[in-house]
Amino acid sequence: MNKFPAWLNILVLVIAVTGILLALPNIYGSSPAVQLAEKNGIPVSEEKLAEFVRVVEDSGVVAEASYIKDGRAVLRFSANDQGTALDALRDNFAKEYGVAPTLAPKLPTWLRNLGLNPMSLGLDLRGGVYVLLEVDMDTAVEARMSSYQQDFEDRLREARIRQRVDLDNGVITVRLTSEENTIAAREIIRKSDPDIIITDGADGRSLQVRMTDAQIKAREDLAIEQNITTLRNRVDELGVAEPLVQRQGSNRIVVQLPGVQDPTALDKILTATATLEFRMLDQSGDEPGSRRYPGRGDEPAAILKRKVIASGDQIIDAGFVFVEGQPAVSIKLDAAGGESMLVTTQNNLQKLMCTVFIETSRETVMRNGVEQQRTIKVEEIINCATIRGVFKNNFQITGLTQVEARDLALLLRAGALAAPVYKIDERTIGPSLGQDNIDKGAMAISVGFLGVILFMAVYYRWFGMIANVALFSNLVFIVALLSLLQASLTLPGIAGIVLTVGMAVDANVLIFERIREEIAAGQPPQAAINLGYEKALSSIADANITTLIAAVVLFAFGTGAVKGFAITLSLGIMTSMFTAIIGTRAIVNLVFGGRRLESLPV
């Protein structure tokens, strides 16, 4: 009696070993490192990595370890060397690579090769900046409506229909002079957008145009997506390792910058917007109003004419495409932009037209002791191409990398302006507090854990010791699962683990009390063990499921810190069911099973 079949013993063993393996990366600690990521997302090659190492060595510093992880190069150093190495790497590679200081786990090579990682720490444990942004959706939708307004006006004028187009409160009203014109206008508008809602005005000489709910939703999604792309690119420019830019809910964006101490760096990013302009190259270089523009990246600087052929706010659609194997952005202009483009291309065949990328950002500066907001405008040529044919509304821009083309398309698609964002929550946690939180959390877990195991050992003797093994395995499993899921561990998360330590023994207490009862009722030891486990099961299941309900609700409703608590609590409940019921039974069976027993040490 009380013997597990061999397969079950093996299963328990396999699970235990897997748990230990997954949790193992957490015991090595971490040390300062520098991370290099190719700006276009191309994975770093081994040769390039060797080059990084060489450059670092030339600066008189030796990397403790160097490897490629997720396509990025990581070079690990001792604390004093990180700064020197960072400078050397930035001097040499900052143009093509994002070079960022970070912390890297000190894993032995074999563990790293297995692809195992330690738990990722939340900002409250590692320090950094957390910002919650709200995207101004009304403005985003309003901007789209006003570009419709412009477009309808242009199209109707082109068709020589007299009209007045007004935009008010999300509704475009088109007033016309006759009923025939109304019918014609409806046709033209319908052709320009087959989905939009068009209703007749009461007087028969006007039309009201609104976006469908699906269009509004799509517009909003696009605005968020576009803002996220923009923010991500700009955050990359900051040189922060492992930044997080993520959508939250319908209209919010979370930005997390681990290790950053000054949130003002972010302010600049947030207020920046981007757009495009198309201008002709001034070949003579001395036309009145011509100006010199710098080139972006490898693009040479050039002198461009004053007249803007078309600008970002005339772009009504943009997409990422391949043209003859080259990444490109397809552009669709509104009627006015198309007209201007047509005239320009007709008159300038075989000449160079340039695309200027304009980025504006705001910066706070001190002037005469007074703080002032200053707008910084960066205008750079991203490509110049020969006009090979006449075109109007639709054309492509090449000369960009795949990533740039994709981002630009996204940026342009929603009109040139990113929807404005507002900061509604900003939290900065200093590194000293983060470390302090870790130390205190670890201390609380250790002391709480010691207290519980001492109590269990005294109270339930050998059975208590077995429960303690289960309790310890439970900790290992929680850490293993957190490492596997890469869910961020936060301070409330640690509190969840502490709580689990206290509650996890409950299952064993239920079982052991039951065994005691069965013995008191006169059952022989082996039967008492069996009955104890059996009868306690339904109570344990009920008790854990109800706690799990609370934890899951917490997870569903909670944000940030609370979610961290819900995660560790739920994981802890699940793992404790396994360790307390099956884990302890395996050991009990191994130790006591199949023997004649006079009494039980419970």
Partner: protein, 313 residues
């Protein structure tokens, strides 16, 4: 080793004790409500919005001086508190309107560093009142939702009278725990909401384990009154209730004393909640079920009455 005698026969549910227990619970609830209504809760900036700074000085901080300096700089509504060690200070401000966080941060830092002191900005938080409102709404919604789910689960596993007993006990625990925070004006932040939800989970755990035993005894102990069989069940589970409560309290005390100031409200909420929860699962939950007239019949499979079927058209 045993904490209590192997067999206890404490009369938890005798008519007189039951009345005392229920009255006591009612009193707790009324006092809590009264305090929440009159004194309110000391909401953290998670809920009210505002600015929070945690700073560390290299020497013992002069709280009064900092308060004066802040008032002189126009922050006369700033709360300045000592936070843990005497070098650590917490500064709290109500929402600052449209002012840029970076600007306020700079101004505050200048004030705190006045007199050439070095200050370590350990934590800076800006929360808009809008986020606060949402969080408060989400928090309350989460609690209500959790209770509904739990009611459904207990009803499914037992029966509605038990479910009503369990949820009454839970509501009692939540109200008394929140009331405790109101009476002592402890900081009520988001982690406290999390703790209260964990209390719901824990207290229910206790209640359900007792119910489980009650159900078992309803069938095993024939010929005894409902009250007696419930009482026996609670006695049988007493050791387990106390031991689990004790180990949990043990780790929570460790968390409270060693876990740092920022997690303290969370630990306090759990400690209070678990003590109240243990009390309520022994007294309130079963007493309520008893009050609703629960008996062994309620847990039996309903016998299909053929005459009912005949009556159908």
């Amino acid at each position: 080793m045993r904490l209590i005698k192997e067999k206890t026969h404490i009369d938890f549910l005798g008519p007189k004790r039951r009345k005392i227990a229920l009255s006591l619970s009612l009193l707790f609830v009324i006092v809590s409500f009264a305090s929440i209504a009159t004194r309110g809760l000391n909401f953290g900036i998670d809920f009210t919005g505002g600015v929070l700074l945690e700073v560390g000085y290299s020497q013992a901080a002069d709280i009064e001086g900092i308060r004066d300096n802040l008032a002189a700089a126009g922050f006369d509504d700033a709360q300045v508190l000592q936070f843990g060690e005497d070098t650590d200070v917490l500064v709290r401000l109500p929402p600052q309107g449209d002012a840029q966080p970076s600007e306020i941060r700079r101004q505050l830092q200048t004030v705190l560093e006045s007199g050439g002191k070095t200050v370590d900005l350990r934590r800076v938080e800006f929360v808009s009142p809008q986020v606060g409102e949402e969080l408060a709404e989400q928090g309350s919604l989460a609690m209500i939702f959790a209770m509904l789910m739990i009611f459904a689960y207990v009803m499914f596993r037992f029966q509605w009278k038990f479910a009503a007993g369990a949820v009454t006990a839970l509501a009692h625990d939540v109200i008394v725990t929140v009331g405790f925070f109101s009476i002592f004006q402890l900081p009520f932040d988001l982690t406290v909401v999390a703790a209260v939800l964990a209390v719901i989970g824990y207290s229910l755990n206790d209640t359900v384990v007792a119910f489980d035993r009650i159900r078992e005894n309803f069938f095993k102990l024939r010929g005894v009154s409902t009250e007696e069989s419930m009482n026996t069940s609670i006695n049988e589970m007493l050791a387990r209730t106390l031991i689990t409560g004790m180990t949990t309290l043990l780790v929570l005390v460790a968390l409270l004393t060693l876990g740092g100031e920022s997690i303290a409200p969370f630990s306090i909420a759990l400690i209070v909640g678990i003590i109240v929860g243990t009390y309520s699962s022994v007294y309130t939950a079963s007493a309520t079920a008893l009050l609703l007239g629960v008996d062994a019949q309620d847990l039996l499979e309903p016998v299909k009455d053929p005459s009912l079927i005949d009556d159908l058209p």
